[in-house]
């Protein structure tokens, strides 16, 4: 899936040790270096394996429901009075978000590697549900680590995972949220490496995860590229996607990276506002550092401790970001912007009322940025927004925020 041309203009990231410029890498305890090498070899082998790729395609079509439509949001575009906005409908995937593209891929890989047990971390629960779903489908044992704080906030997803047969382990350490769940999943993996496969849910973690998760998510951008060529006869002018860890965004962006006329916008969560410090926007307001196995932009204090993040959207509430986004920021190929809680809620309501689609609060950040971008463009121009997930899981959060008791 990576370009192999010798032309130095061709985007070839990461290097053999997982570096995107100075970012990425493998910053883990020695015990994991061997298992990561084993994973890298398996992943490289099976991405060239016709049987594996055929199995993956079959699952993506028949189980996930791909391809997902590229929907022209005509009414919304007209109201905004600018660019024509298309929505890549990842919300229509089985389990309601883009997460399953990756969990299907990694779980099939786990099975080929002879692993019988999968573990995953989850914040809002979407990746946990996607992992539990695929584990049920393939008959694998599944353990999901989830911050105790998040378990309280996402009771419905916890129950969904349990219905699917997964064990949900509450994580009581640290801030009791997603980053701590990731720490705990790593601790499980280091203890049970012989039979366990760790399905990381985003393009973070040590090499090969950022590249592997990207490769499983690029189905989004590959489909969108051929769909827009078919529907409009040309490439879009801009891509917009929300960025927490950044897997849906890189999935959309990657197949367009060499199309230099396509502007790329990653939208981080500004929470209460970047100026308040209560946000989850490491690319817009953080500094480089090392966390969870890779070097990237982080939310950290002056002494290198990871600090608490805030976003109304649990899926964006993470203090790091995939290292490839850090590279795309520094190289200037992609622009990173931030949308606060209130703007995201407005995006949520707009799409719901105008197009009859209830978006996830994560995706609502991308939608809110599109409402700023579209009026600056002409009606001849095209924006593709990644509608990364559906909003059913968020209706309690929205109701609570607006003082409504369900």
């Amino acid at each position: 899936m990576q370009a192999t041309d010798n032309n130095s203009d061709v985007y070839q990231m990461p290097d053999g040790r997982g570096h995107f410029g100075v970012y990425g890498g493998m910053f883990v305890a020695e015990t994991l270096m061997g298992p990561l090498a084993e994973l890298r070899e398996a992943y490289e082998k099976y991405l060239q394996d016709a049987d594996f790729l055929a199995e993956l395609d079959y699952e993506l079509q028949q189980y996930v429901g791909r391809p997902s439509p590229l929907y022209f949001a005509e009414r919304w575009s007209k109201q905004l009075g600018g660019a024509r906005i298309y929505l890549k409908r990842e919300d229509l995937n089985h389990t309601g978000a883009h997460k399953i593209n990756n969990t299907v891929g990694q779980a099939l890989l786990a099975k080929r590697m002879g692993k019988t047990r999968i573990i995953a971390e989850t914040g809002a629960g979407q990746h946990g549900v996607a992992s539990a779903t695929v584990a049920a489908r393939l008959g694998l044992e599944c353990v999901v680590y989830m911050g105790a704080e998040d378990i309280q906030r996402q009771a419905m997803n916890v129950f969904r995972m349990k219905l699917l047969g997964a064990t949900v382990v509450p994580v009581e350490s640290g801030s009791r949220t997603l980053k701590d769940a990731l720490n705990e999943a790593m601790r499980d993996w280091v203890t049970n490496i012989d039979d366990t496969f760790y399905i990381i849910g985003t393009v973070a973690g040590p090499h090969p995860y950022p590249a592997m998760v990207r490769d499983f998510q690029t189905i989004i951008g590959r489909e969108a590229r051929s769909q827009i060529l078919q529907q409009e006869g040309r490439l879009p002018d801009a891509l917009v996607a929300c960025v927490g860890g950044g897997s849906n965004a890189i999935g959309l962006f990657y197949p367009f990276i060499e199309d230099k006329d396509v502007a790329i916008y990653g939208v981080e969560a500004a929470g209460d506002g970047l100026e308040t410090g209560h946000h989850a926007a490491p690319l817009c307001a953080g500094k480089p550092g090392v966390l969870h196995g890779n070097r990237t932009y982080l939310m950290e204090d002056a002494h290198g401790q990871i600090i608490h993040t805030h976003s109304i959207s649990a899926g964006l509430d993470y203090p790091g970001v995939g290292p490839e986004h850090a590279w795309l920021k520094d190289s200037g190929r992609a622009n990173y912007v931030a949308i606060d809680d209130n703007e995201a809620l407005q995006g949520f309501h707009d799409l719901t009322r105008i197009e009859g689609i209830i978006p996830a609060l994560e995706s609502s950040h991308a939608l809110a940025y599109a409402t700023k971008l579209a009026p600056t463009m002409t009606s001849e121009q095209i924006i593709i927004v990644n509608l990364s997930g559906r909003g059913d899981k968020d209706i309690h959060t929205v109701a609570e925020h607006e003082g409504i008791t369900l």
Binding site: R17, G25, M26, F27, V28, A29, E30, T31, L32, M33, G34, P35, S173, G174, K179, D180, N183, M186, R187, V190, T191, N192, I193, D194, K287, P288, G289, V290, L291, H292, G293, R295, L298, E300, A302, H303, G304, Q305, I306, I307
Partner: protein, 268 residues
């Protein structure tokens, strides 16, 4: 000769093995650490391993995780830890001190500043759990410019090619992680440890320390039988935790366990 090399040489001559206790700096409060360091030396420790608190200690079991959380409640930073070492050095010029922690606090300070300040404070070596040799070129040159050793880990999952690379990059001693798991786990397999140590010794003349899973006099003695040094962490940190509300008892509780280990190690 560095303090570490001198320490191992002296032990070797007397036929003894090194006892290396680990405690987290600033646990349960910053005021106890320096006096605890001296108490551990008095109880028979040869080298001290001082944990630098980090918000996301991925390789630690629950005991050391909680220790780091207690220290971070007091906002103990890398700067504070260096000050503790500096204070310790005022009355102990000989006992080597190894800082153990995670990369990010060092990364944020900057490798060169860190190396200079650590040397000035009297630190001898650095062990960063999430910094493998592959990524460590720049850090290694900064450390060696300031006469600091970088300790690397070898694990049960490390193959021969990696053992070779790690032993070529490592200085001071090699730290063998005795089990697949986090600190404080409880499934130590001495014969497996012995096998892997033999492989390590084929590649290096550096002393080899063994840690993870050593919790009492008996396990310390059996490790001392096969290794050059015994690292004990969670078992001591648990003593600190048990006395977190009565800090005056911490030194004697930790020293008590260490003395038992020392005696058992010296018997073999």
């Amino acid at each position: 000769m560095s303090r570490l090399a001198a320490c191992f040489e002296k032990l070797h001559k007397s036929g003894k093995k090194a006892l290396i206790p680990y405690v987290t700096a600033g646990d349960p409060e910053p005021g106890v650490t320096v006096s605890l360091m001296h108490a551990m030396v008095a109880a028979g420790a040869n080298i001290l391993e001082l944990g630098v608190p980090f918000s996301d200690p991925m390789a630690e079991g629950p005991v050391i995780q909680r220790a780091m959380e207690r220290a971070l409640e007091h906002e103990v930073s890398l700067d504070d830890v260096l000050k503790m070492v500096q204070t310790f050095r005022q009355s102990d010029a000989d006992t080597p001190v190894v800082l153990m922690g995670y990369l990010n606090p060092v990364e944020v300070k900057g490798y060169t500043d860190f190396a200079r300040e650590a040397q000035a404070a009297g630190v001898d070596a650095v062990l960063l759990v999430d910094m493998p040799p592959e990524e460590a070129d720049d850090l290694l040159s900064a450390l060696s410019a300031h006469e600091l050793d970088m300790i690397f880990l070898v694990a049960p999952t490390t193959d021969d090619a990696r053992i070779k690379m790690i032993t070529e990059s490592g200085r001071g001693f090699i730290y063998y992680v005795s089990l697949k798991g986090v600190t404080g786990a409880g499934h130590l397999d001495i014969s497996a440890v012995k096998q892997q140590l033999a492989k390590i010794r084929l590649q290096t003349a550096l002393p080899v320390a063994v840690g993870f899973g050593i919790k009492d006099a008996e396990s310390a003695a059996s490790i001392a039988d096969v290794a050059d040094a015994v690292v004990v962490g969670s078992a001591l940190v648990r003593k600190v935790e048990e006395n977190a509300d009565s800090v005056d008892n911490i030194n004697s509780a930790v020293a008590g366990l260490l003395s038992e280990m020392r005696a058992a190690m010296d018997r073999c």
